[in-house]
Amino acid sequence: MEASAASAAGARAVPSLGAARRRWGEALIKALLILAALISVLTTTGIVIALLRETIDFFGEVGVWEFLSGGKWTPLFEPASFGVRPLVVGTFLVTGVALLVAAPLGLGAAIYLSEYAKPRVRKTIKPILEILAGVPTIVFGYFALTFFTPNVLQDLLHLKVDLFNALAAGIIMGFMILPTIASVAEDAMSAVPQSLREGAYGLGASKLQVSVRVVFPAALSGIVAAIVLGVSRAVGETMIVLLASGAVANNSLNPTEPHQSLAAFIGATAGGDTPTGSIEYKTIFAVGMLLFVITLIMNLISIRFVRKYRQVYE
C-alpha cells in the first residue's frame, strides 16, 4: 500500500498537489469514526429521553408542586405520598457532612502537594490518593456500616448514633471525594505561574503567606471547580448511602439518624423486576430526573470555573 501510494503520487507528478484523487476508503473510515463519536451523543439523548418520557407520565398522576414541595415520601405504601423533600434533605445532609470532611482535607492535601512536597514525595503520595479514589463505593459502604459506625462513632467517640446514620455515610463519602478535590485543586495551584510566587518571596513573604495569600486566591476558580465537582459526585453516590444510612426518608436535619438520598432511593427500589408502567417504575424515573438535573447544573458550573483558570494562565 505504501509503495503504491508513493508511486501513484510520483506518476501524477507536480500539477495538482492540492486536489488529490478522492479516496472513498478514507471517506468511509471518517464516516465510521463519526458514527462512533455519535454514540456518546446518543447516550446523553437516551438518558434524557428515558428520564423525560416516564417523568412526564409520572406528572400525569402526581402534581409537579406536590412532588417538589411535599414533605412526606411514601411512594410504595398506602396511602402513597410523593413529596420528595425528605430525599433532597437526606441527599444534601450527607453531602454537607462529606464536604465538611473533604474540603479542608482535600485542599490541605492539594496545597501540600503543590507548594511543599518535594517531587519524590509527590511521586509516592499521588498513587496512594489514586488508590483511595479507586476503592469501589460498595467497599466504602461496607466499611462505614460494619466498622466506622460501631467501632469509631459508637465505641471510640461515644456518640449516640443509630446503626444506620447519615453521619458515618457522610464522613466516609468525604474520603471518597477527597482525592477528586485534591487532584483538581492541585492542578489549579500548579498552574499558577512561578513569577507570582517569586514576586511575593521578593517582598519578604513566607511560604505560608505565599500559599495562602498568593497561590490560593490565584487558583480560586480551579478550587471552586474542584469543590463543585466533589459535591456533584457526592450527590450522585448511591451505595455508601444505601448501605450505611438506611432506607428511611427523613425530614430531620439530625445526621445521627437514618436518612435516604435520591440516588439511594433509586438503588433501593429498582430491583430489575419493577413492572414497566407501574407508579413505582415511574417514580424511579422522576427521582432520577431530579438527580440528573442537579448533577448536570453542578457539572456545568464546574466546567465554567475550570475554563476560567485555564484562560488566565495558559
Binding site: M1, A6, A9, K30, L33, A36, A37, I39, S40, T44, G46, I47, A50, L51, R53, P104, L105, G106, L107, G108, A109, I111, Y112, Y116, P127, I128, L132, G134, V135, P136, T137, I138, V139, G141, Y142, F143, L145, T146, F147, L163, F175, G204, S206, L208, L229, R233, T238, M239, L242, I266, G267, A270, G272, D273, T276, F285, T295, L296, N299, S302
Partner: protein, 296 residues
C-alpha cells in the same frame, strides 16, 4: 503587602512557628487520608482473609454461610468485563481519533460532542442504570436482565474515561511524525493507523485498564438493570442471567444485618478478592505507563 513587611520586623520567630504549624497541618490532612485507607484495608483483610480460599472461589452461593462461595459472581464479573472491553475499545478509540485527528473545533457539532463527553463523565452511575433499564433491558432492545445488557450499561458508563485517555495519548504524538508520514505520500488514515496509533497504544491501554477498573467495582447500575443476587450457575452466553462480585457483596452485607447466619466474613472475603483484582489491574496500568512512556 505593607502588613507583610511589618510582620518581618515584628516577630520572625513566631512567624517561623506559624509556618511550621501550617506545614504540620497540611501533612496531617494527607496523613488522615492515608490512615483511613490503611484502616479500611486492614479491616477488610482481618474480616475476610480467613474465608478467602479455594473453596470460596469454587463454590456457589448457598443458604448456609459456611458453604457459600463466589464462583457465579467471579464468572459474572469476568463476562461483564469482557463485554465491556469489547464495546469500549473500538468505540472509545474511534471517538478519540475522530476528535483529535479529524474534527474541526470551530464547528458547533464537534464542540457539542466534546462538552457532551465532559458532561457524561459526571452523570451519576445510578442514572446509567436507569438508561440501561429503559433502553437495553426493556424498550427498543429488550435484552432482558442479561449479562449483555449489564456489560453494555457498564460500557456506556466508562466510555468517557477511554475517550479522554485516548485523546491525551493521541495528542501527545508530535505533529512532526504526522507531517513526516504525509510528506512520504501516506494518506491521513495510513498515517493514523501506522504512525499515530502505534505510538499512542500505551496511553490508550492505560486508559482502557483504568476504565475497566472503574467498571469492575460499580454496583448501583447493575442493581438497577436487574442483576440477580442468588444464582447458582455461571453465565453461558450473552443472554444468560448473571450476578457479579459487587452485587454478591451487596447481598451478603444485607444478609449480615438481618440473618442468623454470619455473612459478614463472606462479604469481606469477596471485597478482598475485588480489591486484589483492582490492585492487579492498576499495577499493570502503572507499569505500562512507566515502561512505554515516550519522551518526544
Amino acid at each position: 503587602m505593607s502588613a507583610t513587611s511589618e510582620a518581618i520586623q515584628a516577630a520572625p520567630a513566631s512567624r517561623r512557628a506559624k509556618d511550621t504549624a501550617f506545614r504540620v497541618a497540611l501533612m496531617a490532612c494527607l496523613g488522615l487520608s492515608i490512615l483511613l485507607l490503611g484502616v479500611l484495608l486492614y479491616d477488610v483483610v482481618k474480616d475476610g482473609a480467613g474465608h478467602l480460599d479455594a473453596d470460596f472461589i469454587s463454590s456457589f452461593t448457598s443458604i448456609s454461610a459456611d458453604k457459600a462461595g463466589a464462583q457465579a459472581a467471579i464468572w459474572g464479573t469476568i463476562w461483564l468485563m469482557g463485554i465491556c472491553a469489547v464495546f469500549i475499545v473500538p468505540v472509545g478509540v474511534a471517538t478519540a481519533i475522530y476528535l483529535e485527528e479529524y474534527a474541526d473545533n470551530d464547528r458547533w457539532y464537534n464542540r457539542l460532542i466534546e462538552v457532551n463527553i465532559q458532561n457524561l463523565a459526571a452523570v451519576p452511575s445510578v442514572v446509567y442504570g436507569i438508561l440501561g433499564l429503559a433502553f437495553l433491558v426493556r424498550g427498543p432492545l429488550a435484552l432482558g436482565n442479561t449479562v449483555l445488557a449489564g456489560g453494555l450499561t457498564l460500557g456506556l458508563l466508562v466510555l468517557p474515561v477511554v475517550i479522554i485517555a485516548g485523546r491525551e495519548a493521541i495528542r501527545a504524538v508530535p505533529p512532526s511524525i504526522r507531517e513526516g508520514s504525509m510528506a512520504l505520500g501516506a494518506t491521513q488514515w495510513q498515517t493514523i493507523w501506522r504512525q499515530v496509533l502505534p505510538a499512542s497504544i500505551p496511553g490508550i491501554a492505560t486508559g482502557v485498564i483504568l476504565a475497566l477498573s472503574r467498571a469492575i467495582g460499580e454496583t448501583a447500575p447493575l442493581i438497577v438493570v436487574g442483576a440477580a443476587t442468588v444464582i447458582a450457575f455461571n453465565p453461558d452466553g450473552l443472554d444468560s442471567q448473571f450476578t457479579a462480585l459487587p452485587i454478591q457483596i451487596f447481598d451478603w452485607i444485607n444478609r449480615a444485618s438481618n440473618d442468623v447466619n454470619n455473612y459478614k466474613p463472606l462479604a469481606a472475603a469477596a471485597i478482598l478478592l475485588l480489591m486484589i483484582m483492582l490492585i492487579l489491574m492498576n499495577s499493570v496500568a502503572i507499569w505500562l505507563r512507566n515502561r512505554y512512556e515516550q519522551k518526544w
